[in-house]
């Protein structure tokens, strides 16, 4: 904040002139980057299709109503599969993520090279989307629920391990020291000093990730990895729009219920 004096009058300003120029300069750079990006994207766009979009949207929209309610009975098995993919995937992820997190946390890692490996596992798992994991696993394990489950598991390791190791790094060292003072071994320190402190986080992270995984597992079927996405892909490809809207509503309901369940369970734990 600066106060300038101009003809016996005090003027209040947020920035000095210099700061103002620097600020404008940053804005100039930012806007040029955005305009450049926009130019590249718009060069690759067929504008005729974009102009046609409102008509298309109205067309598809009118074909989507009314949803084909009778179809929802056929969706019970896919929804069950979807929930299984998410749940078992989360279980796999948590089983692997907890040891990885202990290797990645600065205060519990056995060795600094182990820590680097663990951090690389976390980043690699986080940066590859579950759909890409599924794409690869369908090649190896064949299409089906198993590929989807493993894909969700691999994708979730990084997320869970990252949140868990951050909470391990933030634990209260006094409690661990107190356990150590009783003559506990390293393993006992971990079981009685560290784990009780991070257990609520572990449970909370698992449930949070389960909620995300329900959402993610609804689309794995697009690459053949099971779940309701399989039906969605099939219905879109056969232009069965009334089925598509039914599926979307079922996904909406599933996500809604899972969000409610996870909120309730997290509320009970924390």
């Amino acid at each position: 904040m600066v106060v300038q004096k101009k003809q016996d009058e005090l003027i209040w300003k947020k920035r000095t002139t210099r700061e103002q120029w620097i600020n404008w300069f940053y804005w100039l750079i930012g806007i040029s980057i955005v305009l450049f990006a926009w130019k590249i994207i718009s060069d690759k766009t067929v504008w005729f299709f974009v102009q046609d979009a409102p008509r298309q949207a109205a067309d598809i929209g009118s074909r989507m109503v009314p949803p084909k309610w009778s179809y929802s009975l056929e969706l019970i098995k896919p929804v069950w599969d979807t929930i299984n993919i998410a749940t078992l995937g989360t279980v796999i992820a948590m089983i692997i993520a907890v040891p990885v997190a202990f290797c990645a946390a600065r205060n519990t890692t056995p060795h600094s090279t182990v820590r680097i490996v663990a951090l690389f596992i976390i980043v690699a798992s986080r940066s590859v989307n579950s759909l890409i994991w599924a794409l690869m696993l369908v090649f190896i394990l064949g299409p089906g629920v198993l590929a989807g489950t493993v894909a969700i598991g691999l994708r979730s390791i990084g997320f869970c391990a990252k949140l868990i190791y951050e909470s391990i790094e933030e634990i209260d060292a006094n409690q661990v020291e107190a356990v150590k003072a009783t003559g506990a071994s390293n393993l006992q320190q971990m079981i009685y000093g560290i784990i009780p402190q991070v257990l609520p986080t572990i449970a909370g992270v698992g449930i949070y990730r389960w909620d995300i995984n329900i959402r993610e597992s609804t689309i794995l079927g697009l690459v053949g990895a099971g779940g309701i996405g399989l039906q969605l892909n099939g219905s879109i490809n056969t232009l069965a729009w009334t089925q598509v809207s039914t599926i979307l509503l079922v996904i909406l309901a599933t996500v809604f219920v899972s969000e409610w369940v996870s909120a309730k369970v997290r509320g009970a734990i924390i």
Partner: protein, 270 residues
Amino acid sequence: MNNVSKTLYPNNWKKPPFIKRSWLRWSIIIGSILYLIAALSSMDINIQRVLEGIPRGQRFIESFFPPNFSDNRGVVWEGILESIWMAIISTVAGIALSIPIGLGAARNLAPLWVYMTCRFIIAASRTFPEIILAIFAVKLFGFGPFAGFIALSLGTIGFFAKLLAEDIENSSPAQAEAVKATGANWFQWINYAIQPQVMPRMIGLSVYRLDINFRESAVVGIVGGGGIGATLNTAFSRYEFDTAAAILLVIIGIVMVLEYASSHLRKWVQ
């Protein structure tokens, strides 16, 4: 002396269970076991297919090495650049759209009907994964990065507007009242009382969202939304696994850089 009763100290100790009510603990354990049996039995894992897949997976992974960065069509770098531009423009557009929606979804700024409308938009955008939005965008706008841009921008709204609204709701009312007392109009009020309070967190979140959008741009391509995902999908369907490996490594590298940059930027801003 014999009849002097000895004070009994407990000489063994058991860790208290995580869930204190025993009926709840046991019903959760039994319930999970029953669920696991039901889920695993409905998965119909084809062991034969999995066993067949192991040597196939081995060959699959072998064919990833060495990663081929210099594909003769130059598609890897072209795809990466397209993804980066797509991520930038969709983050900017998404945030520009989220600001009014986020302001509307904050209960302390907006009247009830605006609040309900904006919350509904946010909930709708959050429910469907980017990839489902991308399928519809491709149907409406044709193949190419424009569809991906639309899908990612819509996905950004749900994320950014929600966090912005929550942050505004948590901001200190005292500062807002002080600015209002100077006779500021609505825009000045937002600009000088609300914006400075939420800005640091929003900058961090926009970098984080840029990171998410880049990662998501790798999958919207699978359904035809342009970017590196399209290149990756082509590489997979042409069995050019060395190119696919190169793409995955580049994605991991860029995500690592973005993550590092965003954590530093957040520290620097706060």
